[in-house]
Symmetry: C2
Subunit: 332 residues, 2 copies
């Protein structure tokens, strides 16, 4: 069996990032780190879905602008979202003459894309790649759960889908920028949990497995990293990851955070178990974490994108909810 952690040799760097969020996200503790806050969920469009596409386009525009690049400078875009047939992404790029590589990794899609961009830029397949993903509370809620007007009650384990989009540009060999050093793609992990309203519990075993594999393959432990951020486990999933490592005698320490716990002031904003969605890891990384990397607050970090792999149909069919987690290691 291969060592399944990929080590990059040619310094694929994250040369810029962009992020746009919705109203609730702009009222949370990370507000200052986002490029733009849009109070109108439709973003001036006719439907929430069209609005979500615009979030994605706008996040990419910010990332391009900050790097002083235009669309034609991109070798490809890795994109995805949570909508059926990933239409937020494909419609975002329908006017753009840039190769589009569509991904579906549920809420792990941003990190999946980041790792793929690492491989593409490292190998020279492209000189520059963009990663851009989105999610939207209103489009997700009506697709996965209930129409918003129904006003359904949510259990305390539920998480709130982040409205927004995050994007990064990955380019070769510009060493002053944060570089993608390694990546570990995760496998599908099914722990037999079937409560789709407790996604943190469904995804935590996958996060544990992929992080453990990354530590093993790179001969590291949590204390080697200034920051370890899981994507959107929320309060329950984050605690579960801590507990699973604790059983192995491994302390995840103070440097372990979860983007789903950082996005909102959970109690003040009444956000139940925290934030979730493709855009959760994407915006927290593109805004807050990139800022910390650029200011050398952190020098070596892990970003672990987590996804739960159910559909409304599999939930109706009483299937379990498997999880997946992809890990990238980033250094300054």
């Amino acid at each position: 069996m291969d060592n399944r952690t990929i080590t990059f040799k040619n310094t694929p760097c994250i040369i810029s990032s962009g992020c746009v969020v919705g109203k609730n996200e702009s009222e949370g503790p990370l507000s200052e780190y986002f490029d733009k806050c849009v109070k109108d969920g439709r973003f001036g469009e006719k439907t929430w879905e069209q609005g979500e596409s615009k979030f994605q386009k706008t996040a990419l525009d910010y990332a391009l602008k900050k790097a002083n690049l235009s669309q034609s400078d991109l070798g490809c875009i890795f994109g995805g979202d949570l909508l059926n047939q990933c239409v937020a992404s494909s419609f975002a790029y329908r006017d753009m003459d840039v190769p589009f590589i569509g991904l579906y990794g549920a809420c792990s899609t941003f990190v999946e894309g980041l790792a793929l961009a690492g491989v593409f830029v490292d190998s020279g397949a492209v000189s520059r790649a963009a990663v851009c993903v989105s999610s939207h509370f209103c489009t997700a809620e009506r697709q996965y759960r209930n129409p918003l007007a129904y006003g359904g009650q949510r259990p305390p384990t539920a998480q709130r889908t982040v409205t927004g989009a995050g994007s990064v540009i990955v380019s070769q060999g510009e060493k002053t920028f944060p570089k993608i050093a390694r990546a570990t793609f995760g496998s599908v992990v099914d722990s037999g949990i079937n409560d789709a309203n407790n996604m943190g519990a469904c995804m935590a075993p996958a996060a544990y497995k992929s992080l453990k594999e990354h530590f093993k393959n790179t001969h590291t432990s949590p204390s080697d990293f200034d920051l370890i951020a899981t994507g959107d486990l929320g309060e329950i999933g984050r605690k579960t990851v801590r507990d699973l490592f604790y059983r192995d005698g491994v302390d995840m320490g103070e440097s372990y955070i979860d983007c789903g716990c950082e996005m909102f002031d959970i109690h003040r904003q009444d956000m139940h178990a925290g934030a979730s969605g493709c855009a959760c890891a994407a915006t927290v990384f593109s805004g807050y974490i990139m800022d910390g990397l650029k200011n050398s607050k952190w020098k070596r970090i892990l970003l672990a994108g987590t996804g739960s792999l159910q559909s409304p149909l599999t939930v109706q069919q009483n299937e379990t909810v498997p999880g997946i987690c992809h890990v990238v290691e980033i250094e300054v």
Copy 2:
């Protein structure tokens, strides 16, 4: 702007393939090329969706077995399907300890995965990668159109989703096998067509654009290839591609086929405009085309995976149906 065709240097080879199809496919002209024909749409499972997952697992098993490999020999699996949240794929791999990279490229997913596997194996990110995709008439029909029991009439432009799955194993440097020489990822092409029952017309402009780009970037023309196969344009889309090239003074010639026209005996089997679905290009390639490559019937080919990027919701919202097409060049 980069030359957007990727040329592989380290001979990523397709060392084996596997394909499993359903009843109608097994009654078509390519029957002898498939590894297994399954008359039961549920494949012995409780639901069609679980059956589709089993098609996918079984196709991968055939590909592994023929290469004398086991799951642990794989660095990763690129997988996808047409179901909401790509559950046929993620549930297929939930018992497998192999990194899973989920894709959504509609019916272009097989070729998207083949090109990604080319990049991964060429760069040494993994030694071996599998690509496996599925589609299923019964799961697709009730998700995209009507419950099967409704017995809806279909217009003559409609295509029939292939029931089945196709898989290949890509590995480095084994030169007696067909090798992936080049790949061109396509962009999203929106020609303003909004008839979701005429997917051939929606996808043809994307096929034309990506093939044209591949010819330009590689200084080739259709006559340089022994076979050019688009994924699932059907009779209308295939004719449209011919016409679009004809306007440029380019004759696509006799070597141009479409997998969606090859799968069924369209008139005898009453298949309207032909076949479609992720599994169309995947099974025709993994069975029929791989056979021709191994027997040196063809020495240099193009496989152009085509996808239409709508969802039932975007159709209801009266959106257009954009298309996408990814191209891989394969040599013996």
